[in-house]
Every structure is written in C-alpha cells, then in structure tokens.
C-alpha cells in the first residue's frame, strides 16, 4: 500500500514536471502582436542624429537590421557589444532607431561605446517607432527588401541570433 501511494505520487510528479516544462518551452502568448510579415512603414522627413534627411531606399534594399536603442536603456548597453560584433561580420546593414532620447546624450553614448550603426534615426517623440509597433527599448527588426521577417522584443545576443535570426542568412 505504501508502494501504491508512491506510484500515485510518481504519476502526479511526472505530470507536473511535464506540464511545467511544456509551459516553459512554449513562447508566451503576448497581447502585443509581433510585426513579422508586414512591410516597413514609409518614412517621410526622418532625420538622423546629424540632422540629415534619410533616404528611404537605404532602409528597403537588402538585409537591414533595425535596432531600437536609447542612452537611458541599460539593456541596450548590454546588447551593444554584440551589435558591434555583428556590424563587423555578415553582409548586413545595421541601422539604429534612437528612441525618445536626448540628442547630446545619444551622441555621447555612441562616442563612449562605439557606433555599430550605419546611421541612427533620431526618433525623439517615438512617432516612427509607433508606426513600427515598438513597445519599448531594446527591440530589433530584421528587414529584407522592405519586409519585416523577424521582430524581437528584448535583448539580442549570440544565442538569440543563432536561434532566431541565423536562418535568414
């Protein structure tokens, strides 16, 4: 009878472990839809950090990695070295979206930590980010010929890159 109880316990235990490992392995359903499969919204009169108007074609030709960052965002600082590494490898253009930031702080941030971006869109009010469906910083979009193929909310690092982005190269 002890054995019977122990078997019942083991049954419950196995079910319990199975259920929670399932729930851990499944990506969370989020109420904010990722933007994959959508076309990049058109840009008008967007400027970079130097105040130059951005040419729309620079975003919609070839493989472009759009990275939302800000000087106030600590996680962006964490993923910065990885972006720097990326900018040296792969045939890939990395473009930043400087999100709700102060111009001088943003420039200072790039001076101190290095600039992996071809250029950064200065999105002071977050309007362009809103069109893109950005919820915060950092977020990263992989755009191939104007189409968003991958949208990542949160930090990117080597592991995330290998698991989710690598397939497009």
């Amino acid at each position: 009878m002890k054995r019977l109880l122990f078997l019942i316990f083991l049954g419950f235990f196995a079910g319990f472990i199975y259920f929670f490992s399932l729930s851990l392995s499944k990506p969370k359903l989020s109420d904010i839809t990722l933007q994959e499969g959508k076309m990049l919204p058109s840009i008008q009169e967007l400027v970079d950090l130097n105040g130059d108007i951005i040419d729309e074609r620079s975003l919609s030709n070839g493989k472009v990695l759009l990275n939302v960052w800000a000087s106030w965002c600590i996680t962006c600082l964490v993923e910065h070295p990885f972006l720097s590494k990326l900018s040296k490898g792969e045939d890939l253009i990395i473009i930043g979206i400087n999100y709700k930031d102060d111009l001088s702080k943003a420039k200072n941030y790039l001076d101190e930590n290095g600039d992996p971006y071809k250029f950064s869109i200065f999105d002071y009010k977050g309007y362009y980010a809103l069109k893109l469906g950005v919820t915060g910083a950092p977020e990263t979009f992989l755009v191939i010929d104007g189409k968003i193929v991958k949208h990542r909310i949160g930090e990117i690092n080597q592991k995330v890159w290998n698991d989710e982005f690598k397939v497009f190269f």
Binding site: M1, L5, D31, I32, T33, W72, T135, G136, A137
Partner: protein, 142 residues
Amino acid sequence: MRNMIRRNRANKIYLILLSLASVALIVFFIIKALEKNIDLYLTPTQIFSGEYNTVQKFKLGGMVEKGSLQRVEGEDLVVTFTVTDFQNSIDVVYVGVLPNLFKENSGVVASGYLTEGNAFWAVEILAKHDENYMPVKLESYD
C-alpha cells in the same frame, strides 16, 4: 491470521481508492466553479475573428493608440479611446477615473463587454507597466 492481514490490506486499499475518488470529486466541483468565473483575455483581432465567446464579460488587451483618447463633451467622466494590436483596433468607452499607468502609446487591459455597435464598454481599466522604463520629460499639469 493471514486472512485477517489480507483483509486489513484490502480495506486500506479501498480506503485509499475512496479518498482518491473524493479528491477527484472535489477537483471536479472546483473546476466547475472555475469555469463559471473565467475572464477571457482577448486582443482586438481575436474579438473580430469570431472564434471566441464575446457575449459574456471579458478582458481586452492591447495598446492605446496615440491621439485617440478623448473626453466626451458635456458628459463628466466619459472617455473614449482606441485599443490596437497593430492589426485591428476597437473603440473603447469608459466612465470613471483613469488609472495613473494609463497612457497613450502604452499597454492597457480593460475588462467589460462588447456592445452591439462593436465598441467595447469598459467597466474597469487596468493599465500595464511597460517592460522598460521610459524617461519622459517632466510635464506640467495642463
């Protein structure tokens, strides 16, 4: 003697099975009660897909669209705004004081009912924290 031990053993096994059955019964009733008190949690796209029960009270989740928050003239505490999941959006009507975390261009969860005109009548608004803090310039109250 051996017979007695065996009978005792059988009794104990019956006892265990009996208690397991009663636990199962309790669980069954609890789950019944659970199903009575469910609040579904839907995005605008899910609401219009028609695959979910939107007759009863449910929770709506999404982002508050920029520039959509309006106060209804003449009505003291009536506000309307649009909740979007970037694919579909739905108009929301709410009467009452909005919580602090409620902001345009930020996440929101509202619980309430779908009206006949396909708008959402919110009974309660629970604004959500953004995952990342966003420092905004100090805004004065005007």
